[in-house]
């Protein structure tokens, strides 16, 4: 789970439901319906990244990073501890795809995740500056707080883009 004290320049891989705070490179691999959300403080060149799986926690508190409604508040709390207030943060998000068009279950979890992240960011007064969401495509996302909060996205076909 999050360990804000870790100071490593190696890329931290953030698994499903995990989050990290710091200025080291961070990465979420193979996002499908999950969301990779980054919050960046341009003045401090630091930030946070979380790998969200589902929109609503339904009151569960043991893995706050797993759900959109609990992940964003916990990131803001961690960032506040190191002196980044909500108004100084910029958000970017990627993922929220629908990898399987048909499954009868009629759950577009990717879209619900994306919607929920937007709503919670708005509630918290965080500006969403860029996003690459939806479609039927997997994304691996890298976040470089030390390099201006750059977020780069690689797709399965090797195409890369930047947010």
């Amino acid at each position: 789970m999050a360990d804000p004290n870790t100071r490593t320049l190696q890329t931290a891989t953030i698994g499903i439901g995990e989050y990290r705070v710091g200025s080291f490179p961070m990465m979420t691999i193979g996002l499908g319906s999950c969301i990779g959300l980054t919050l960046y403080d341009p003045q401090k060149k630091t930030g946070a990244m979380v790998h969200i799986m589902l929109p609503d926690s339904g009151g569960r508190t043991d893995r706050p990073g797993k759900y959109a409604d609990t992940a964003i508040p916990v990131l803001l709390k961690e960032l506040d501890k190191i002196g980044s207030s909500n108004s100084s943060l910029v958000a970017k998000m990627a993922g929220g795809a629908c990898m399987f068009e048909y499954f009868g279950t009629n759950l577009n979890i990717g879209e619900r995740n994306t919607d929920k992240v937007r709503v919670v960011l708005k509630e918290q007064g965080i500006r969403l500056s860029a996003e690459d969401v939806g479609g039927k495509v997997g994304r691996t996302v890298t976040f470089l707080p030390a390099s201006g909060g750059k977020v780069s996205i690689r797709r399965a076909d090797g195409v890369t883009s930047e947010l």
Binding site: T13, G15, G30, G32, K66, E101, G104, I109, G138, R155
Partner: protein, 203 residues
């Protein structure tokens, strides 16, 4: 759900039988020898999923487990992109490796997955006396992790750990490496272990 050593052994045996039948069908389709690994049962924390399934490009033919349990989880025919091209090349008498997976490849993969998974589930149904039917297949040709995490997110019973139960099927002649992976709901897993335990107790 934690499996006891006995339960794990029993599930492994079930996988063995299912995969052996699937391997036979693959062998017939390729007219070549197909060998299989010992089935691996892995309980994986979702945060660690990326250590087991990466963002490499793969074809996954996915079936929902239906039948006596309505939404029983998923069973997946997994094959890396290169192996998928070699597989359809072998079946369709082509040699070009440097190409995209086209519509013909996609229908071939769906069909191969369908035949193999049906053989797998037929064999396990016969052994267990418990029928799991495959839904119509859906295909993803993309990052393996992206497809798998999406399936885990839409499991009916929300989990922090998943049980992945996989058997590797290899055709050395054509360098084709594939897996059959089962991602059962907890209720399905419970039902299967109960039936296996009852079988072992029977005289």
């Amino acid at each position: 759900m934690k499996l006891s050593a006995v339960q794990a052994d029993a599930i492994q045996e079930l996988g063995n039988i299912g995969a052996a039948h699937a391997a036979t069908t693959l062998s017939q389709m390729l007219s070549s020898t197909v060998s299989m690994s010992v089935p691996a049962i892995r309980t994986i924390d979702i945060a660690e999923l990326g250590n087991h399934i990466g963002d490499e490009s793969a074809a996954m033919v996915v079936f929902e487990l239906q039948g006596e349990i309505q939404h029983g989880g998923y069973i997946i025919f997994y094959i890396t992109r290169e192996s998928a091209i070699r597989l359809t090349n072998t079946m369709l008498g082509m040699t070009d490796m440097d190409r995209e997976l086209n519509e013909m490849d996609q229908s071939a993969l769906l069909e191969v997955g369908n035949i193999m998974v049906s053989a797998f589930l037929d064999a396990t149904a016969e052994m267990l006396g418990f029928i799991m039917l495959p839904s119509p297949p859906v295909l993803s040709i993309d990052m393996a992790h992206a497809a798998m995490e999406s399936l885990i997110a839409q499991l009916g019973e929300e989990v922090d750990e998943v049980l992945l139960f996989s058997t590797e099927l290899i055709c050395e002649e054509h360098k084709i490496d594939s897996d059959i992976i089962m991602l059962p709901e907890i209720s399905t897993l419970k039902r299967i272990t109960e039936l296996l335990e009852a079988m072992m107790k029977a005289p």
